[in-house]
Symmetry: none
Subunit: 127 residues, 2 copies
DNA sequence: CCTGTTTTTACAAATTTTTTACAATTTGCC
DNA sequence: GGCAAATTGTAAAAAATTTGTAAAAACAGG
């Protein structure tokens, strides 16, 4: 059924609070420009491009840092922390930790109780 | 550029209540996401991939835990228990104990017949 | 050099996994 | 059926792993 092409033709991510402009490489929170460092922006952009999807640590380390091999470093966590800080009160909503795997960016207001992209066919509502 | 998110029916198990996405490594019960730890997911995935088939303990311990030799451990049972708990009221239906051999995952509401030999491919119920 | 950014360090906290120690169940055999 | 041996179920504790955090050190570009 649903083979879906990822939104790499999109020039930006946008929801009711956050906007990420992949062309200008800028982000804005509630219409205010977010001052992000380069790495912070790249991290946010990669996560937002894959909104709703888990992005494994090794992918993040590969794409943002260029670390090919598994390197023991805490720099990803540190950057996630600073990014969350700049996302303020929405941070917990936006950047989810998937223990043992990586992180997942969730668009605002999407309930986590329901899978945001799993089922091609909605089946069996309730038991 | 996004991550690969092709979703084929070959890459998932699905019945009227449970869905296991082998690509995203996620599962959902009645359309809401199951929060599984890595080992719990791997165990469920391996069982579901062999739906209707008995999977011996030693195979589970080998494939999920990497235990090659026969090791005396209760960790498999503990994981099965936690997985059953998360499957809620369907757990007894889904994960069957085959005494002295292993476990068998059964698709929902499929009456217990002798599956003819090689039916290792996951079959969706209904539709 | 400055200055802002990034990485490392060194723990703390959180989460998952395994072990332990029994309880309960199943099976084979008489 | 009744018993013993083997197997599985379970709760709780211990161990291992992973992530969070603050602060300092290293780095890079003007």
């Amino acid at each position: 059924m649903g083979l879906q092409t990822v939104t790499n033709s999109a020039y930006r991510y946008q929801d009711s609070h956050l906007e990420v402009d992949y062309v200008r490489k800028q982000a804005a929170l509630d219409s205010h420009r977010l001052i992000l460092t380069r790495k912070e922006y790249e991290l946010l952009a990669l996560l937002a491009e894959n909104a709703g999807e888990i992005v494994p640590r090794r992918i993040l380390l590969e794409r943002v840092w260029g670390y090919t091999n598994e390197i023991r470093t805490r720099t990803l966590d540190v950057h996630v922390r600073r990014l969350r800080k700049k996302l303020g009160s929405y941070s917990e909503q936006y950047i989810e930790t998937i223990f043992g795997i990586g992180y997942r960016f969730q668009p605002f207001r999407v309930s986590q109780r329901f899978s945001s992209g799993m089922g091609a066919s909605p089946l069996a509502v309730g038991a």
